[in-house]
Amino acid sequence: MTTETFDVGILRAQFPILDRTLHGYPMAYLDSAATAQKPRRVIEATRAFYETSNANINRGAYKLCQEATEAYEGARATVAAHLNAAHPNEIVFVRGTTEAMNLLAHSLGQGLGPGDEILLTHMEHHANIVPWQLVAERIGVTIRVVPVTEDGRLNLEAYRNMLGPRTRIVSVTHVSNALGTVNPVCEIARDARSAGAIVVVDGAQAAPHLKVDVQALGADFYAFSGHKTYGPTGIGAFYGQRALLEELPPYQSGGDMIARVSFEKTTFKAAPQRFEAGTPNIAGAVGLGEALRFLAETGMDAISAHECELAELARKKLAVVPGVRFYGTAPERAGIVSFTVQGVHPHDLATILDRRGVAIRAGHHCCQPLWERFGIPATARASFGLYNTHQEVEALVEGVSYARELFT
């Protein structure tokens, strides 16, 4: 699909919140990497579920229950299609990427022993660091960290040298939330598998912005959050390659995930139900399914192209403002622009922009080790979604210029 069929005006009209103002200015929402806004059809799908089909799933022999179960399982199939999984049963619903990473660290961790190694990278989000650290402390596993180059790429040579017989898991982000770098997951996964390691991918920033194909990538596990893919908060999913998922021990336990319970011995259901204890976020899954259908209809390639165009325009125009420095300048990058302005702290910049209607993120973006590597405490980050416009880029650049003048 080309950008000719991509009409940002028509798309914007589907997002009710984009009509609002901030401090009297039209709102320029440039923080979609934190959470994306929701199209009306997602809000309505969630409401329609509660209004017409709400019941608990997988139990009760009545029609309403069957409808709710079908809606939930239909959403699972939609997620599978979004990631090009081979089968819907390879999709597990969770609260979001963070919960997926906790689940995977916990359950994969049970197969690890002292001296085993987990490879992470210096550009990981805290959600892809801390769960592994907790496991490492408990089991005596070593965490090794793949370094990041000055322009914000992974040092693949160093990565290959780190891979070895003790490497059991490689967990890497597909797209860096802090730098925008798109990592060569295909290559990383290929090398990891040759070393006999399991490949976990944090897809939180990729699933809303790129066409993801877990089979082509060679990922064993791939997690993302619904709220960043224009769906509701509190729902997300991960893909697990079938053979691995079947062997993975449970995380949370309780109802819905068991085959048979007695006080002597409990047996568990097969995946994915084994990982979905208790009543799940059914309406959230329905909303997520609707969001992913919306993305499919809009076209992931067109969305990528649009967001990258805006990010490149922002980089080009911001580069003219004195004192602006970018972090993450690798050739392969998504619609995220991380930068600092000399003499203006990112938080002051974010407040000044806010008063002009421009919402950006300032801070460490949950990547403290990364900024330590670059020797700065924080950056300002503008991130683009499918609904953003050239005018919003202009508002950003004008606001940054104003802040720079105010502070110098």
């Binding site: 702290h345 938080h347 002051d348 405490p377 924080a378 502070f407």
Partner: protein, 145 residues
Amino acid sequence: MLDDLYQDVILDHNRRPRNFGAMEPSDGHAEGHNPLCGDCVTVFVKTDGERIVDVTFTGNGCAISTASASMMTEAVTGKTVAEALALFDEVQGAVRGDAEPDDESLGEIAALCGVKDYPMRVKCATLAWHTLKAALEGATVAESD
């Protein structure tokens, strides 16, 4: 309206922070950290047993936290410890919007009151004060509010 927050006095203290630098030796020093935005400040104090005779600070932060620290060092020098802590209470009340600011006792610190409209930034304005309190009480790390 933005000028409510980024008044000239704040911009000036941010550009040219007063009493900026480590004090060696000092009677006490403490570190304060705002995990939300990564602001960090170290406050050094010297007292004659009753009065604060010198205060300096080092650190890295936004304009609000830097200006607040800078203005604080000027405001508390010469005050007794009790007077300084009382002023902290007053500053805290004013920046949270809990109390009407008294321009006479606050002086130019009153310029910080604009943060009451930015709840996320109130901690920036009080970070140096929490750190001063810790330093005066012999602690090395400030407890955040």
